[in-house]
């Protein structure tokens, strides 16, 4: 069942701005269900999910600009000039501008400790995400947890007929997010929510994105056969 549900998920290139607005209470309920069933190392949940609603178009535009500048910066490392920038882009993250809700996942300093964590702490156990330095060093673990949360949320949205998409092209430096007063720590993920007008698949049908397939299964999953297996991947 879950396979079939998630199989319906498609990246949205453009959200339908004439579609009815998803009630905030609906989104709140889905997020709370997600929160309930998403595991976290030592129950710290060292991340925040900021929900930017339909009324905050200014924030969405500011985030789109951050993404666009980040793409410029990244592509400047390629000695070949960025042809698509010159001609005018239609990036996958343009959906930020027309989504209903935009979720911004950021790091969060862990704590205050619950009674069990406090006793452990008093016995010498260290919960890294509760310390500034440790939070930074734990960011990959926290990224995994953000992925767990985001995927569950995606699945629950599919069940409700709501579209979502991910964006990972954004600036990592917090100072570049100064137009977003609530972003005070590193951003981990952006997730758009709404009802689709155009899917990426629709472009594929027109011949755009041809050949853009994920790596074959056998290149991702390796069953270790014997103890001498040393394949470099």
């Amino acid at each position: 069942m879950i396979y079939e549900t998630l199989g319906k998920h498609k990246h949205v290139m453009k959200y339908d701005q004439s579609a009815p607005i998803i009630d905030r209470a609906v989104l709140d309920r889905i997020l709370e269900k997600t929160w309930k069933v998403t595991p976290s190392k030592n129950n710290i949940m060292a991340y925040n999910v900021f929900v930017i609603g339909p009324e905050h178009q200014n924030y969405k535009q500011a985030i789109y600009d951050i993404c666009s500048r980040n793409e410029d910066k990244t592509n400047r490392r390629n000695p070949i000039p960025d042809t698509d920038k010159e001609k005018g882009r239609n990036p996958a993250y343009a959906n930020i501008q027309n989504c209903q809700y935009l979720l911004v996942f950021t790091l969060r300093l862990g704590g205050p400790l619950n009674p069990f964590q406090q006793r452990q702490w008093d016995k010498g156990v260290c919960y890294d995400p509760c310390l500034e330095e440790g939070l930074w060093e734990s960011r990959e673990n926290i990224a995994v947890e953000c992925g767990l949360f985001a995927n569950t949320f995606r699945g629950l949205c599919v069940e409700e007929g709501i579209d979502t998409s991910f964006t990972a092209n954004f600036a990592k430096e917090v100072e570049l997010w100064s137009k977003l007063p609530f972003v005070s720590r590193r951003v981990m993920l952006l997730m758009t929510v709404g009802y689709a007008e155009i899917y990426r698949e629709d472009y594929k049908a027109k011949g755009i994105y041809q050949g853009d397939v994920k790596p074959d299964y056998d290149r991702i999953v390796k069953f270790i056969v014997d103890e001498t297996s040393t394949e470099m991947v």
Binding site: M1, I2, Y3, T5, D28, L31, K33, V37, P39, K41, N43, I44, M45, N48, F50, V51, I52, G53, N75, N78, I80, D82, D84, P115, F116, R119, V125, E140, N141, A143, V144, E145, C146, G147, L148, F149, A150, N151, T152, E159, F166, A168, F182, L189, Y209, Q210, G211, D212, V213, P215, Y217, I220, V221, K222, F223, I224, E227, S229, M232, V233
Partner: protein
């Protein structure tokens, strides 16, 4: 439906070592997961190394790696003998699981035709660049979170348990006994049939080990 399935998840402290989970089923569920897990620019910059029931030695080595990491992290010389005299650490489930999945970083050496097309038009991707691949570590970790979330759900639908371990050395140099780990590890995932669940062993204080309230994690922006 997804919520009902995920509610069944419970952290496994010890797996049933007599359980017989066919490799073909794990392979099928991993394949389904691969099919429905999205990836930025379709790179999937990670590899999943699957250790089956036969690989006890590797599992022991990975357990020792986690133990060593705990010792270094908390500045405890011998955590097994100083901390775990009455019980084993949670990640001791590595020793009893049927399958251990080790997720590591992966360099893309053969971009797909569309990726090649974009590179020729001035796009730049860390996933294909050996020296810049480490910059992708956090994003690859997030994608692994997406992947493992799907896999965990499919396992639950099939009555199979799984648990995560994030306590291990990040430096590849600490993994030289496990020769296929050639790039930075991202997460460990144990798979099997639970014999002892963490919930069952909790004392009164441990039962107060609750996650932060919903309102502390999710913030609707009002300003």
């Amino acid at each position: 439906m997804i919520h009902e399935t995920l509610k069944k998840r419970s952290y496994v402290q010890e797996y049933d070592t007599t359980a017989d989970i066919p490799e073909s089923l794990i392979d099928l569920l991993l394949k389904k997961t691969w099919e429905v897990t999205p990836s930025k620019n379709n790179f999937m910059p990670y590899t999943i190394h699957v250790l089956g029931p036969a690989h006890k030695r590797y599992k022991e080595l990975v357990f020792l790696n986690a133990l060593s990491k705990e010792g270094v992290g908390d500045e405890v010389k011998d955590p097994l003998n100083s901390r775990y005299t009455s019980h084993l650490p949670n990640y001791a489930n590595i020793l009893s699981c049927s399958y251990l999945l080790i997720f590591t970083m992966r360099l893309e050496t053969d971009p797909n035709p569309y990726q090649k097309f974009l590179i020729s038009r001035g796009h730049n991707y860390e996933a294909v660049n050996e020296s810049r691949l480490p910059n992708l570590y956090a994003m690859a970790s997030l994608e692994v979170g997406l992947f493992t979330s799907v896999f965990n759900s499919l396992l639950l639908e099939n009555g199979i348990d799984s648990s995560f371990t994030g306590c291990f050395h990040r430096k590849v140099s600490e993994w030289k006994d496990v020769p296929f780990v050639k790039r930075m590890p991202i997460v460990l995932m144990t798979v099997g049939k639970g014999k002892v669940y963490l919930e069952e062993t909790k004392n009164k204080l441990q039962k107060q080990d609750l996650r932060p309230n919903y309102d502390r994690i999710v913030n609707f922006v009002n300003e």
